[in-house]
Amino acid sequence: MSIFDGLAAVEEEILKCMKCGNCQAVCPLYQESRREPAVARGKIRLAAAVLEGKLEPTDGLAERFALCLTCLACVASCPSGVKVDRIILAARTVLTQKKGLPFIKKTIFTGLSRPRLFDLGVKTAARLQGLLFKNIEPGKMQPRFPIGLELRRIVPPLAPVPFRDQVAEKHTVERPVATVAFFTGCMTNYLYPEIGQATLRVLKAHGVDVIIPRLQHCCGAPILYNGAADMALEMARSHVDLFGGIQADAIITVCGTCGEAFKHLYPELLEDIPRYSERAREVAAKILDITQFLHKLPFNPKLFRAPELAVTYHQPCHLGRGLGVVQEPLFIIRSIPGVNYLPLKEPARCCGNAGSFSLTHYDMSYQILTRKLKDIEDTGAQLVVTGCPACRMHLTDGLTQEQMPQKVVHTVELLARLLEEK
């Protein structure tokens, strides 16, 4: 039984919680609201109440379970090793089955789950976005109307040409040391093609052949995290088919959440489906974040040169605590001559974006971001490096609104910029 079959699958996890409350010390949402339902311990009690039949799956309950960043901070610090994220996902799945999704989420997810239609829709939207958004400066827009986004929110424009349409499917170098398949993720494809281009350049510079399968689409994580497992099933299957059929040494991701989808969620989701469970695990075993892969190659710092540059690094939740990629990005950043790494006080604290959470709870999301901005300011760094497009978007939003001068880039973009032209 998987977590996507409901709460019974996580009964042991629920029982393991000894209610010590240690999660209070690390939960960003609890620290803002200081209310027990916000913290893991409270939500676990609610999940137990549902299991015991003491609580009905109400809208109110769905709202309580929506109030979680799935930043995994509680999981990392839980003395009893409770996998809180699994309980949250199981509960959300039950609640979504019973109560359905809010309209805006349902619309988006239905779109995401129909790859061809989605691609067409985004491309059309890219042409028309000027009607709904005004340009602030290159790479930054603000909504003209409240279209499900806060008016003050700064977002990147949709790329006129998505990344996967900009590049060929296969890229070969002379005497390759490895071949990888690149899963780009939606944000890189439609919002930040420069992250995709950077990945390609850096991999090629390291002598790696890259395949960017045309037929890839959304990983489905946003849907799974919102409890709509049934909608994501086909997405998972098609990716397992697609990437399972490619001869590659590794599958590269540039977003911790996409990586998590392949590595942890697909095997869980496809666990009981005969032909898929095995292959899902094989595909999962090949998933590596770009920094992990480069670090293993090994990374060649001689390819890069920085004019004195002071950078800091924000650790994305799903990359760090989710995939366990903590040291590799730091190792890479610090090994480039000229780069001066100035650590954040709490590098691993959630920035507050949390995917669709920032759509539905923007105020709280921004409140959490405010702490991160203060931390960034304290480092004195000029550039914020991070390993996740969503964090990048959120940090840029905050820095712009607060009129702070720091810029944000993905780790691999930093590398591509510092790559010495040969």
Binding site: K19, C20, G21, G42, A49, P79
Partner: protein, 461 residues
């Protein structure tokens, strides 16, 4: 007069943002960190922002005869915050300002919802510390820890919460606001009510402001790990260290069950061929630290143990992480963790360790014992599964025997976790019925209508 009217009144006086009534939310205030206790949801949760609002809550509670259950972070281990009679849970978490740090008087004034660690962070730049450090420093509130008179790892040398509380502001059950004590080191004006309210578990008044004593941070420290092949040797070493007139800041013990479990789960490099280990830290002026550490090493050798000294911060941190992993690691072995708190005079620590070991064997239970050996405060931790009713019966019987053992050695039911619901029925064992009567008279005098945290510590009927 109904609960609905009371809620109406609370909303009017506190604003609707400070009054929580959704069923889903109330469930999250039905428990604390205590295992194996009944849970109960309150009728309403209030989050007052200042003392005036606390007074209003008390007045409304009086008018509508609803009990009030004060609550900080809900991390206590005696059922102190479970609203067993329904009514109002009063959360102090919105009263979380550090009002003043006064380096010339070495005091800090805080609201009850301040987290202990936040106070420590705030006074660190002054070179000061607030020593009481329960395992929950990062989560527990000042109000909750004063109400429980929490102890912690440094009790032996630095004492417990009551040794640092100098003044209190409280709202009494009749709605009056009173202040006792203050910033003076000396104060014998009237009965020592600051001490009475410290450790009163929310049954006598609601704490709304606390003045605490701070001390200079120690200049140097040395941390050592000692291993013993017999449990009794470890216990005797504890007594001997103190016999040598060395008072370590920390003197912690972990028995074999705990050590093995920690090593299995956390892999911190602990030896697993021991019956017990001690973690010892001496601190103070550098020269004194040196000579005390030397004395400690001698005592350990004399008792047949080996010792390893942390050479740098990294090694020290490693030893500490082993100690911090004790409860977590134990908690992972089985779903239900019952953490006991029986305490004996430290000269009896060996007897108590052996008694617990024996009780575990007789009831066929896994008990890991660790704790603050230096002050006689052990935490025998019973690992069980709440779904196994037969096993839970054995757990309850074993807990009673642990209490009896501690009392027969001249100890106490609870060193630092409090009485609450969990140990209420055992009070007569320690203080006799006449002793319990005195508690009741105090409760009767201050809260005749039994409005404040009813059902905890003593029952009025």
């Amino acid at each position: 007069m109904s609960v609905a009217q009371a809620i109406e009144a609370l909303r009017r006086e506190l604003g609707k943002n400070n009054v929580i009534t959704a069923t889903e939310d109330l469930f999250c205030y039905s428990y604390d960190a205590t295992a194996d206790l009944p849970e109960q949801t309150p009728d309403v949760v209030v989050t007052p922002e200042n003392v005036d609002q606390v007074v209003k809550v008390v007045k409304i509670a009086r008018q509508f005869r609803l009990p009030i259950y004060p609550r900080g972070s809900g991390t206590n281990l005696s059922g102190g915050t479970v609203p067993i009679k329904g009514g109002i849970v009063l959360s102090t978490l919105k009263m979380n300002r550090i009002l003043e740090i006064d380096p010339s008087n070495l005091t800090a004034t805080v609201q009850p919802g301040v987290i202990i660690q936040d106070l420590n962070n705030a006074v660190a730049p002054y070179g000061l510390i607030y020593p009481p450090d329960p395992g929950t420093v990062a989560t527990a509130t000042m109000g909750g820890s004063v109400a429980e008179c929490s102890g912690g790892l440094r009790g032996l040398k630095y004492g417990v919460t009551r040794h640092y509380v100098m003044g209190l502001e409280l709202v009494l059950a009749d709605g009056e606001v009173i202040r006792y004590g203050g910033k003076t080191v000396k104060n014998v004006t009237g009965y020592d009510l600051v001490r009475l309210f410290t450790g009163s578990e929310g049954t006598l008044g609601i704490i709304t402001e606390i003045i605490v004593r701070l001390i200079p941070a120690p200049q140097a420290r040395e941390t050592m790990l000692a291993g013993f092949s017999r449990l009794a040797d470890a216990g005797n070493a504890v007594a001997d260290i103190i016999g040598q007139k060395v008072i370590p800041a920390t003197l912690e013990i972990m028995d074999r069950v705990t050590v093995e479990t920690v090593e299995n789960f956390a892999h911190v490099g602990l030896p697993t061929d021991v019956e017990a280990i001690l973690l010892i830290e001496v601190d103070g002026i550098p020269e004194v630290v040196k000579s005390e550490a030397a004395a400690v090493r001698q005592v350990i050798a004399k008792n047949g143990g080996w010792v390893k000294t942390a050479e740098n911060d990294e090694e020290r941190e490693k030893l500490w992480s082993a100690r911090r992993a004790a409860l977590p690691a134990l908690a992972r072995r089985k779903p239900t963790t019952i953490l006991e708190d029986a305490t004996v005079p430290r000269s009896k620590i060996t007897d108590m360790l052996l008694a617990v070991e024996d009780i575990g064997k007789r009831y066929n239970l896994v008990i890991g014992t660790f704790g603050h050996a230096g002050d006689g405060n052990l935490h025998p931790t019973i690992l069980a599964d709440a779904r196994d009713e037969e096993e839970m019966e054995r757990v309850r019987a074993a807990v009673e025997e642990i209490f009896r053992a501690a009392l027969s050695l001249g100890g106490t039911l609870s060193g630092e976790h409090g009485i609450g619901i969990a140990k209420k029925q055992f009070l007569p064992w320690e203080m006799g019925n006449p002793g319990v009567q005195v508690l009741k008279k105090i409760k009767q005098a201050l809260d005749p209508d039994n409005l404040l945290n009813p059902g905890k510590m003593v029952d009025l009927t």
